[in-house]
């Protein structure tokens, strides 16, 4: 294939070629960045919370009326829930992963330390955490019934003798990997011994997109406490296939014990997850739609312009055919011409895409994108523009030499 005549021809339609190239460049830049953002969001959405998500639901409960014997009322609630046939275990707690908000503890490695060594989500649980939460214990143990203390709201001191931490928190506190058996400090006096490490347990704010250094999404600390407050959460673990039935049975069981309460947000964990990631998923879908539309627009534009160019060059094509060019030569000509323009555009697009990505990374804490996306974006656009040329090129190839020459 001779490139020189094509390039000479292109010089006569500089602006058109330039516009197509620029379009291709911008399309590649936008599409590959969108792909990178979509991938990153989906990755974030798919991170496991650590719970046995398929068989877990949560209930928010608040007692109204006199606050005497709260401990007994909570115990009664938990016993009632646990006696439901489809329930395997229940944990009364102060929060759960992906709830959106929760208690954050500032952990220190020495009592006199003024600044936190790490921040973590603080969960209050009793010995039933093992059965209800479905977390994977990597090392050490869960809590014994006798080490669980009452936590009655703001008026108890917050210390605890023991704690179980998530693996990522253990690593942040003790990078050498020997966190088990070591101490952390929740206040400036009492030490708390790490007695167990779980594989992962996400924080309530893991989906909120906050700064990881201050609101880490994978750092959690479990303290052995009976949560004795007016408002608390029952985290219910159900037997397989029983979740829906138990979600309607549980509030009834609670109201049967006492009507002086508010029961709200009875939600399967799947629902919690869907709600908290609603916007992130929406962004991904919107970006995907925009990317597809953009590819469509660019393809249509290339199609339109090439069709026009073919019409404009009818005579010239007829002449070439008359002088012995084969149909395949004409096809080849238009495809090569298109490849030259879009190829140049693609190179610009890759550069633009990279620059835009670097800028985005500084603006919205996005990770720099993998080079793969640039290649995928460029390849997609090149393939589509080649496809857009097929029909006009076929039309050009079908111009009969005689008819083209007759017009002269």
């Amino acid at each position: 294939m001779e490139l020189v005549p094509i390039i000479l021809q292109l010089r006569r339609r500089k602006l058109g070629a330039f516009l197509v190239g620029l379009q291709v460049a911008l399309t590649i830049a936008i599409v590959c960045n969108s792909l990178a953002i979509i991938h990153q969001r989906l990755e974030q959405i798919r991170r496991p919370s650590g719970l046995d998500e398929a068989n877990t639901f949560t209930i928010w409960n608040e007692f109204v009326g006199p606050s005497a014997d709260l401990a007994a009322r909570i115990q009664g609630d938990v016993a009632a829930l646990r006696s439901l046939p489809g329930v395997s275990d229940v944990s009364a707690t102060n929060g759960f992963p992906l709830r959106g908000y929760g208690f954050r503890a500032a952990l220190k490695l020495a009592p006199e330390q003024r600044q936190a060594a790490a921040y973590a989500a603080e969960y209050h649980v009793d010995q039933h955490v093992a059965g209800a939460w479905g977390l994977k214990l990597l090392a050490g143990r869960w809590f014994m019934p006798d080490e669980i203390r009452d936590d009655i709201g703001g008026d108890t001191d917050r210390s605890s003798a023991t704690a179980v931490v998530s693996k990522s928190l253990a690593q942040a506190l003790y990078p050498a990997g020997d966190a088990l058996g070591k101490d952390i400090y929740l206040d400036s006096v009492n030490h708390t011994r790490i007695v167990g490490i779980v594989d992962r347990a996400q924080a309530p704010w893991a989906a909120n997109g906050l700064k990881e250094s201050e609101w880490p999404s994978e750092h959690s600390v479990f303290l052995p406490k009976h949560e004795i407050r007016r408002s608390l959460v029952y985290l219910v673990h159900t037997r397989i296939g029983q979740q829906d039935a138990m979600m309607s049975a549980a509030p009834k069981a609670l109201f049967k014990l006492s009507r002086a309460r508010i029961v709200d947000d009875v939600k399967s964990f799947a629902q919690t997850r869907a709600e908290i990631y609603h916007a992130a998923r929406g962004l991904s879908v919107t970006l995907a739609i925009l990317s597809i539309l953009l590819l469509g627009v660019a393809t249509c534009g290339i199609f339109g312009l090439t069709t026009f160019w073919v019409t404009q060059r009818r005579r010239q094509i007829g002449m070439r055919r008359a002088l012995g060019a084969r149909r395949s030569h004409i096809l080849e000509y238009f495809h090569t011409e298109n490849l030259l323009i879009t190829g140049a555009g693609a190179m610009l697009g890759v550069a633009l895409g990279l620059a835009a990505n670097l800028w985005l990374a500084t603006q919205w804490q996005l990770r720099p994108m993998a080079v793969g996306y640039l290649l995928i974006g460029a390849f997609l656009v090149l393939a589509l523009s080649q496809a857009a040329v097929i029909w006009p090129a076929l039309r050009a190839a079908s111009i009969s030499p005689a008819s083209a020459m007759r017009d002269i």
Binding site: L19, A106, G154, S231, I262, A279, G282, L293, G301
Partner: protein, 437 residues
Amino acid sequence: MFGYYFSLGLRSLRRNAVLTILMIAAIAVGIGASMTTLTVFRAMSGDPIPQKSSRLFAVQIDNFGPGKGGTTSPDGLSDQIDYIDAMALMQGHVAKRQSALFLTRLSLRPPDAQQKPFKVLVRAAYANFFPMFDAPFKFGASWTAADDTARSAVVVLTSAMNDKLFGGANSVGKTIRLDNELYTVRGVLNDWHPTPQFYDLNVAPFGGSDEMYLPFSRAIDKHMAAVGHVSCKAVSPVGWEAFLQSDCVWLQFWVELPDTAAVDQYRLFLNNYAAEQQRTGRFNWPPHTQLRDVMSWLQYRHVVPSEVNILLLVSFGFLLVCLLNAMGLMLAKIMGRASDIGVRRALGASRREIFVQCLIETGVVGLAGGLFGLLLTALGLLAARALLTKEFVGLAHLDGVDVAVALIVGVLATVAAGLYPTWRAANVQPAWQLKTQ
């Protein structure tokens, strides 16, 4: 002449129907995508209280010290203040109006014992909250400064809560039971939803959190815990009194300052206050305070989520591609008519006339693109409500301004994109064109 050019333009658009449709579609899709995100963006970044936003200020005081604590802002200031500072500022009475506020959650027991109790989000504020933020009353009025001092058990209901509890009737003087205590209704607000809820962006900034209001002093008296953000420098204190005396930040603090002199005076007062704290040893760092009016506050708090910003950027890139596309097609179309233009020029049409004719043609394409784009925008907004946050429901809607912007952007952008092709057309050499025929 205009009518003639218009009909010529239409005729030429008809002749090249495929190109015309592609052009209009490209512009419509571009306008649709960019206007959808622009409308959402405008709704989210709008001024929630336009008549007053430059006279209302959020107060910030650095009570954690440089480089300490869990603040996420780059300037090291918390977006809320602690109780000690809030009380000192309230007692200062330097601003025209001022109020510390916070959100709390209480249980409400309906008078009908058959009905289940439910939770309500209640804002604790001073009486000045209502006149300061221009909150309109439907029935009754705000509680008074005397109630603030007396810690009275009184409430102001939102109109939605009044509908729910009293079927929309005038409920002033009636009582409701909140956390087992009786509260007298003093007033009912009209529909009032400043969006975003600038004075507290922690809970439902776009949906609005408040369901009723009660005196701040009463809330403190009854140990009502804050819903939203409570951030402590190091260790959370034990017990309510210790919490109040701690450095934990959990209160919003707003002041109304009528003019620049008042603003300057208040800045000075704030700085002097912080300096006084340094002198007495409570702060061991130089004064670091800030006053921000509503719009700079919203910007500072990044109230528009990054999702919307990313989409805005992408969709305007999209519009650009669509316009480049239309420009290429326009060029093709106009240059395809070079011979026509040559004939017209030879028959005496001036360059100006050719230019105007082509301009009208592109204008028509732009207008059509803009109109179809509006249709797509309406569809896009429906989709955005489903795809993005539920809080957008009822928030983003097309108004006259959006329609005008869409049409103007459509026509102007298309005409701008068509300028070069048009200029090329006007410069067609009649002799040369005729010769090649």
